[in-house]
């Protein structure tokens, strides 16, 4: 927890702050209250022995468990940054700037908040971290709506935003911001990585039926999967939008078999995915035959945590994921070990991406020698690294998106434990999922240090 000791030069409010030594008399006549007196180089500049990070995760609502896992990863990252524990991925990280003495010698402290997976609540929570707690960086979240909203807020306020789990193309596409950075992969990459595997396994002569959650993430995912599968010869029979609040998908799933399609693609996440997949299996789609082939179901974005809710139904179903604990590289193993020993179960992809984002932020501060968002941003832009579980990775300067290998996974037929739900089918190299930075539009703008 940060307690500001109110040093005379610390500015913890948004901008253009003038501090008076005492209250009396100042209020009455001071025409220069709103003068642009720069007390600090950037907002919430830490001057004491500590630096405060804001972990803004869903703690209520359907994504609360994912949020809880993110929080565990953040706490682990803070412990490692401050020199505690076994150091986790700090030992395998290709950059050696982090020394285990906090960030730039300042002990890392943190505040937490509840996004409620609502843009409004998430922004309120982030603002309180910036205005009240003096957070210098905001991170976390489990949906793209929240990521886009909070990223915009951080841009306005002048702090760095390190996105958590957000998969929509928009986050680093049309809604990208100079102060925002995303490590997680996106819809485009899922489509590009999945298509070849689907082609290999199911053939290039397939008819696909899309069920798509009716909101921004659903649209970009449908678009990405459609484009990449059509490019290899698949035909899209239909794409039906389903309400985000839908709980029973029977009326959407029932007509699929008679539609002439032989693949069902569920552009759903979280509860939507669990429920639509369960319905699809109930209606016998997994065992069905169509056009002389086995009927198949595809889930473009898998979440292991939530796949558990679908139970047996995930078996044999292809999807993509950002990271999985069964990866055998040094970084992943180090992370699984320190997370598993602390909490007793393996981390989720949400936990992984948030841990990595925290380390990347801290490392960028060290390399830049400052917490100034502009300096940190410059240090992250174009940064190439390795050893954080996804192989060689590039933080692309043009859109602040990480480019790294993408995992294509399949629901495991014979799980050995309750965590062992997915098996890795293919690690698609980064080069296959890289796209031109301009295709989604949007402007980064310039970095904003908040003063």
């Amino acid at each position: 927890m940060s307690k500001k000791k109110t040093p005379p030069m610390s500015a913890w409010n948004r901008r253009d702050v003038l501090k008076a030594g005492a209250a009396s008399g100042v209020i009455a006549g001071a025409p220069m209250f709103f003068s642009r007196a720069h007390a600090a180089d950037y907002i919430n500049e830490p001057t004491g022995k500590t630096v405060t990070l804001g972990f803004n995760v869903p703690q209520s609502g359907a994504y609360a468990d994912e949020g809880a896992d993110e929080l565990r990863a953040y706490q682990l990252a803070v412990e490692h940054l401050n020199g505690g524990g076994d150091g986790g991925m700090m030992n395998t990280f290709s950059s050696k700037a982090l020394k285990g003495n906090g960030i730039l010698g300042r002990k890392v402290e943190y505040v937490t908040g509840d996004t409620q997976t609502k843009p409004d609540a998430a922004r309120a929570s982030a603002r309180s971290m910036i205005e009240k707690d003096g957070a210098i960086m905001i991170t976390g979240g489990s949906s793209s709506g929240v990521a886009v909203a909070v990223q915009a807020l951080c841009q306005e306020a002048g702090v760095i935003f390190m996105a958590g789990l957000t998969h929509s193309n928009d986050t680093t596409g049309k809604d990208k911001k100079a102060n925002g950075f995303r490590h997680f992969f996106n819809s485009y990459m899922s489509g590009a990585a999945l298509a070849p595997i689907l082609g290999e396994n199911y053939g290039t002569d397939r008819k696909a039926y899309h069920l798509t959650a009716d909101y921004n993430w659903g649209y970009t995912t449908e678009e990405a999967v459609k484009t990449s599968t059509e490019a290899m010869g698949w035909e899209t029979v239909a794409a039906v939008k389903t309400p985000l609040s839908q709980t029973d998908f029977s009326s959407y799933v029932a007509p699929v078999q008679a539609s002439g399609a032989d693949v069902l693609i569920l552009n759903h996440y979280g509860a939507n995915m669990v429920n639509s997949l369960t319905s699809a299996v109930q209606f016998g789609l997994r065992a069905a035959q169509a056009n002389g082939k086995n009927f198949e179901i595809v889930v473009p974005l898998y979440s292991r945590l939530m796949a558990k809710g679908a139970g047996e139904n995930v078996k044999g179903i292809f999807g993509s994921t950002n990271w999985h604990w069964s990866l055998q590289d040094e970084g992943s193993q180090a992370f699984v070990k320190s997370f598993g020993e602390k909490y007793g179960f393996p981390p989720s992809q949400a936990a992984h991406t948030t841990y990595v984002q925290t380390l990347l932020y801290a490392d960028a501060c060290e390399r830049a020698g400052t917490h100034n968002p502009c300096g940190v941003g410059a240090a992250l832009e174009g940064f190439e690294f390795d050893g954080l579980g996804n192989g060689k990775t590039l933080y692309r300067a043009e859109d602040h998106q990480c480019f790294k290998d993408v995992l294509v996974v399949k629901g495991k037929e014979n799980p050995t434990s309750e965590f062992d739900l997915l098996e890795i089918v293919e690690v698609t190299p980064a080069s296959k999922v890289t796209y031109d930075a301009s295709i989604f539009g949007g402007e980064l703008g310039t970095c904003n240090p908040g003063v």
Binding site: G61, T242, D248, S251, A258, A271, A310
Partner: protein
């Protein structure tokens, strides 16, 4: 439109409708008999579902043995779990019990929900009979939050998979019965079971109110509580029992729903709004209206989600229930079968 596609959505509508009708039935019992706006009714449905989860967990309580030949994700010896019921009753019976945990959970849910209903009514709701509806809303909404949070604290926020017994996995081919090609009109067994179960419960509740003395008194109390009280009949006790019955109806509806959609702590709130809409569209104080409205709205929702319909009217699947509610309430001032003067002021 093909006949099979049409019939398929009728089946879907009946299936969705049976869930709506069951929840609305319990809600309208409380509305109608006790005059209480119960915002915690969705939570009762959710708790019912978690009775199934609890029973599954209880039956799966295991002894743990270490298998040195295999390792878990940290490289420690793998823990092998053997459910205690398998040790007690033998593997086959034990497996069968676990497999049938959802239907068995009904046996657990009825007493548990009765008890919860009694406690709720005696401990909380009865103090609010004479209070304004706004106070009832606040207290029951608070209770709904508390119940949901307790479940979340114990079971987490993610959905929990509770499968139906193996013999109900798969689908029944209605099309074959009426001479269609194979696979044209199939419907999952468990959803058929759910529909039949809903009819059974609805029938039982109606029969109970119609043909027993108890039911007669309650119906009289619904119509005129004071007069019944003056006749020297202890209506309060009967109302407590009605509350328990309403809670049980919601509970078993929740139990049987778990294989259709894996339960999570938010499912009560998910169903809350729709169940109020169903009750009001059916008409205040009318059990038959609630059931009818449940099925009508279920069928409308199913048809609105058809591709041809969505393509003709974009977004109709998002709003159809509310649109239908508005049209019905404007056409019929007290909903489908509502009685005059109930909750109208």
């Amino acid at each position: 439109m093909e006949l099979s596609a049409f019939l398929l959505q009728v089946l879907n509508g009946l299936d969705k409708g049976s869930a709506y009708a069951l929840i609305a039935l319990g809600l309208t019992l409380i509305f109608g008999t006790l005059g209480v706006v119960n915002f915690a009714h969705g939570a009762l449905f959710m708790i019912g579902a978690f009775c199934a989860v609890a029973l599954q967990r209880i039956l799966s309580i295991s002894t743990i043995t270490l298998d040195e030949t295999k390792t878990d994700f940290l490289g420690n010896p793998l823990k092998i779990k053997t459910p205690i019921v398998e040790e007690w009753f033998g593997e086959a019976t034990g497996q069968l019990l676990i497999d049938w945990s959802v239907p068995l959970a009904i046996l657990l849910a009825i007493p548990v929900m009765m008890l919860i209903g009694f406690i709720m009514e005696r401990g909380l709701i009865k103090h609010f009979y004479k209070r304004p509806h706004s106070d009832q809303i606040l207290v029951t909404f608070g209770l709904a939050i508390v119940l949901a949070e307790l479940i979340k604290a114990y079971y987490g926020a993610n959905q929990i998979s509770v499968p139906a017994p193996d013999m109900f996995i798969g689908s029944f081919d209605f099309g074959m019965l009426i001479g269609m090609a194979k696979g044209k009109l199939i419907y999952p067994y468990w959803r058929i079971v759910y529909f039949l179960f809903a009819l059974l419960i609805i029938g039982l509740v109606f029969a109970f109110l119609q043909f027993t003395t108890f039911g007669m008194v309650v119906r009289a109390g619904m119509a005129d509580r004071e007069t019944v009280g003056l006749l020297g009949i202890n209506i309060d006790k009967r109302f407590t029992i009605m509350f328990g019955i309403a809670a049980s109806v919601a509970g078993v509806a929740g139990v049987m729903y778990t294989p259709i959609n894996s339960p999570s702590y938010t499912m009560g709130m998910d169903f809350l709004v729709i169940s109020f809409v169903v009750v009001v569209v059916g008409g205040m104080g009318s059990l038959g209206g609630a059931v009818l409205a449940g099925f009508i709205l279920g069928i409308l929702e199913s048809f609105a989600s058809m591709r041809v319909v969505i393509e003709a009217i974009p977004g109709i699947n998002q709003v159809v229930i509310y649109l239908a509610a508005i049209v019905i309430l404007l056409a019929r001032p007290r909903g489908l079968l509502g009685r005059k003067g109930v909750m109208e002021s």
